[in-house]
Subunit: 312 residues, 2 copies
């Protein structure tokens, strides 16, 4: 069973259950309106030794920061600010002391950077490797929350930063080159936390999500749930230094934002963003009424068999 | 480093951080007042193969139910109703199909029993054993939330049901007797979910928590945080069938409620509880102004070196 197959079976199994005020599964986070025009959002991610990281290729400090980063990125992709996390760690004997301490210092350093509280969790022994689960909670105005399903025909599609460095870095690590600049970026992603909440406050931003499996895969989630298609100009995909175009389109774990913006306001938004964050956002295409994702090169359609990155 | 040592170091590390509206660590759950006189509560527990369960001694269905039960018990201990969970599962190849399906059926069956939504989570491969993390969310009137620190001198101390069956069952399982009634109870705890919310609504109930490590250990958390002592009459500890008195006082994983009640209202509360739930609650002692936990036999002090159950 693939990850998506398992999740589909869970969605079916729980289809008849009360939602208790939560909105349905399908976005980066679940949403709970709490009154007063506000909502909370919730997400969780597992980080497993020998699946998501190798102890010999990543420091405990880096694993601590990245475990938090991937969750904060999901909250930011909803357009709101992360406020707290709940952390669970299963530790084998040989990681219970020094590794655990360094891990917590990394986790704390990123929590501090974004003002995120640690409100609870669990620690236990592990008979195998290290397993980490982070549950992140965000909070913001309900009207600010961005969903994958909100893409509209004519919207300009943007990505929030250069892409592909993380995928290139993973390739380096698997080839034994753990010290390349891209390998360092793979282990130390910088999610767009402040950018997410800022974009959330702009009503011209329609659909939003974070890029964890590459735009070739992730953009399809926006298209499918919004019942639209898209044209993406591959010459306009911003490729990070040291990465290939395919890394940028299909590499995993960039943790940058992907969002669609009303065409009339796209230019102004891009200007305002640059002024606020001192780096540009990048238009890569537009949403169409077709049902498919069409790649373009020099404005002409081309066929590409690009798929996203799969962990599982 | 012990579990408590690691948690203490985390509390120190995060001591200077913003709380973002959450109340401090130290109860079964973290609490977030959300306005309108309501609060949410949050808790998380890891369930790890070969630490918390053996695949040969517990069915996947049972592990699914118990993973949820231990978290719902923490929510109930705060005096409010569980509304949702977030589930993360790391699965080795040989558990990805049949085991995972049975696990989810068990998880679903208990979710359904208590009307608890599943709002998100993560699934991934594991290079070692099975690891499960459940984050549970409860919701209720802020004034109804029960804290460990609310014990008052003179309160009667109650337990919500007979104790010790789970501890006796664990001993049976470790001796290879996986089919005794107590072993079945160990794998299938029945947390006091409805009881917790009902007791939450009673203002004469002061401190409350759930018994996961035995009253000899757990009662001390109430005493320490309430800055009080207690006398406990060991003849009044309700010992479950097949368990010893020591199992009942020191055995782990009973997941029954432990709470203190204003003495003037204790009799009426016990009557009302019996009428509502058709089984009694059990007074075992009272809170004193001393700083220690004093065991009594036939109303006379006795010295006992009883400690709680330790997983880690």
């Amino acid at each position: 069973m693939t990850e998506f197959g398992f999740i589909d079976s869970i969605v079916r199994l729980f289809g008849n259950m009360p939602t208790n005020g939560f909105e349905g599964i399908g976005d980066d986070c679940a949403v709970l309106p709490i009154g007063g025009g506000e909502s909370l959002v919730f997400t969780a991610d597992l980080v497993v030794e020998d699946i998501h990281f190798l102890r010999r290729a990543a420091s405990a400090y880096e694993v601590g920061r990245k475990s938090l980063a991937v969750n904060l990125s999901d909250v930011a992709a909803m357009g709101v600010r992360p406020i707290a996390t709940i952390l669970s760690v299963a530790l084998p004997e040989d990681a219970a002391e020094e590794w655990a301490g360094e891990f917590m210092r990394g986790y704390h350093s990123m929590s501090e950077e974004y003002g995120v509280a640690l409100i609870g969790g669990d620690t236990t022994r592990s008979a195998g490797g290290i397993t980490i689960n982070v549950t992140a909670i965000g909070r913001g105005p309900s009207g600010q929350i961005k969903r994958r399903s909100a893409g509209q025909v004519g919207d300009i599609i943007f990505v929030g930063d250069f892409l592909g460095a993380s995928g290139a870095g993973l390739r380096d690590i698997l080839q034994g080159h753990t010290d390349t600049p891209q390998a360092v970026i793979h282990r130390n992603p910088t999610p767009q936390i402040h950018e997410g909440a800022w974009l959330g406050a702009r009503s011209e931003v329609h659909a939003m999500m974070d890029i964890s499996d590459g735009i070739a895969s992730d953009l399809r989630h926006i298209l499918d749930t919004s019942h639209v298609g898209a044209e993406v100009d591959i010459d306009r995909i911003p490729v990070a230094a040291g990465a290939t175009l395919k890394d940028a389109a299909c590499g995993g774990e960039d943790y940058k934002l992907l969002f669609s913006v009303a065409a009339d306001h796209a230019g102004q938004l891009a200007e305002d963003f640059l002024l606020r964050f001192h780096h540009p956002i990048h238009p890569i295409g537009r949403i169409t009424a077709s049902a498919s994702l069409q790649w373009l090169r020099n404005a002409a359609p081309i066929k590409l068999d690009w798929k996203g990155f799969t962990h599982y």
